[in-house]
């Protein structure tokens, strides 16, 4: 089923334009290679610190991402002032066309919707975090190199009262055909939606 049918084409296009406009005109930028190398330095240091226990590295990256996500959401909201999404379809569009665009200048594809429209996958065709990276052999089975992204998504969504599971399904760094992140909505934290918004 085509996801584009699920959202009105004009709404979808306007989010795309919003994202591009903010990226172009309202966002200060920095060399992506510095970003890539800094992340690389962090991951490689973690691998050393945890003595190549990659499961621990994954957890640590996720937790770092979570700490970023719960703060990054404020940047995103202050910058975009976008209204609350009425459903996960809209959420997926905002994540890919606005958030990924504004922060990383990439637009992942949304696919693999669950029948109840509460879970979807992001396909990352490019990934500034893993640019120039090849995993050592012992890491290819366990390490999710860009796991920080899952933490960021999880933290940011939680702050707008969407309790989601976010995890990597596959990564081209592990010689898999594509880089896929799965996002599944557990529940909307209705009690925590700020009073006054309804």
């Amino acid at each position: 089923m085509a996801t584009s049918e699920k959202l009105s084409a004009s709404q979808s296009r306007s989010l795309k334009i919003t994202g591009e406009e903010i990226w172009k005109n309202k966002t200060e930028k920095i060399n992506a290679e510095l970003f890539t190398m800094t992340y690389g330095a962090i991951v490689s240091q973690l691998c050393t610190d945890f003595q190549r226990d990659y499961n621990k590295v994954n957890d640590q990256l996720f937790s770092m991402g979570y700490n970023i996500g719960v703060r990054l959401i404020e940047d995103f909201l202050a910058r975009t002032a976008l209204p609350r999404c009425e459903d996960m379809i809209r959420t997926s569009e905002v994540i890919t066309k606005c958030a990924f665009k504004i922060f990383l200048n990439i637009t992942p594809q949304v696919t693999n919707w669950s029948p109840s429209n509460d879970a979807f996958s992001l396909i990352l065709l490019e990934n500034p975090l893993s640019e120039f990276v090849e995993l050592p052999m012992d890491a290819t089975k366990q390490l999710w190199y860009s796991n920080i992204l899952c933490g960021v998504l999880r933290g940011a969504l939680e702050m707008v009262q969407l309790d989601c599971d976010v995890h990597f399904v596959s990564d081209i760094l592990r010689n898999e055909p594509q880089t896929e992140i799965r996002i599944k909505l557990n529940k909307v934290l209705k009690d925590e939606i700020p009073i006054g918004e309804d």
Partner: protein, 242 residues
């Protein structure tokens, strides 16, 4: 529009920032405990107000097709709180509160100063934090509280943060009216404009918060804000608003 005080309240009603910009009020200023109580009281009043609003909302929603009644859509008011001068930190006198009229010379000064660090807005590119109308997330809560002493404005984010500004004025200075003798429609109009200016201002405080508080590794979430940079940037903007 002179801002007397600014408060930031976290999602659980805790006061995480307050600052008085009015030196005269030093004598009768509240102590920090009073401020904590004030914050949590406002947090509750905000919620109570929200319970009282549904009727007003219904009226509004009926008129949703009428663009004049889209109350939550806040127009972009150019350069609210932005420095118009030659890159100095000092504020410059501006046309009171309306903020609409900027002559060409100040515009060109601004663009020529784009490279000057003093005019840089952190991670926000350009000469203003945003330039488009936006929709308020605060639909049924308290947005404005008017007394004959001061006016209070509240901007609430989707994450539940409240940014609160207390202004000494009831009507914009630009109207040149210092009492409440004008016809009701003018009051309403100027008060509406005040809310819009306040929302523009407070969203910018939110932008500053997202830079100088959220990106500070030594800040713990939900805790009082100690950032000197946040302090300074907010003060600068308040000064520009005078």
């Amino acid at each position: 529009m002179a801002i007397q005080s600014l408060l930031v309240i976290n999602k659980s009603g805790g006061l995480i920032y307050h600052r008085n910009f009015d030196n005269d009020s030093k004598n009768n200023s509240l102590n920090s405990n009073d401020y904590l109580i004030l914050a949590s009281t406002l947090h509750s009043v905000f919620a109570i107000a929200s319970q009282l609003t549904p009727k007003a909302i219904q009226i509004n929603q009926n008129n949703v097709n009428n663009p004049n009644n889209l109350d939550y859509k806040i127009p972009y008011i150019p350069y609210v709180g932005m420095s118009t001068g030659n890159g100095s930190d000092n504020y410059n006198s501006r046309n009171g509160g309306d903020g609409y009229s900027r002559n060409d010379s100040t515009n060109s000064t601004n663009s020529s100063n784009k490279n000057s660090k003093l005019n840089k807005l952190g991670s926000f590119k350009g000469d203003d934090y945003f330039k488009e109308p936006f929709v308020s997330w605060n639909k049924s809560g308290l947005r404005q509280l008017s007394t004959d002493q001061f006016t209070m404005f509240i901007y609430q984010t989707m994450t539940g943060l409240k940014f609160l500004a207390i202004s000494s004025s009831v009507v914009p200075h630009s109207q040149g009216i210092s009492d409440n003798t004008q016809v009701p429609s003018t009051i309403e109009k100027s008060s509406n404009l005040q809310v819009q200016i306040a929302d523009n201002f407070l969203r910018k405080v939110y932008c500053i918060y997202s830079d100088y508080v959220m990106k500070d590794p030594f800040y713990s979430l939900e805790m009082p804000i100690k950032s000197e940079l946040f302090d300074r940037k907010v003060k600068q903007m308040v000064d520009n608003l005078l």
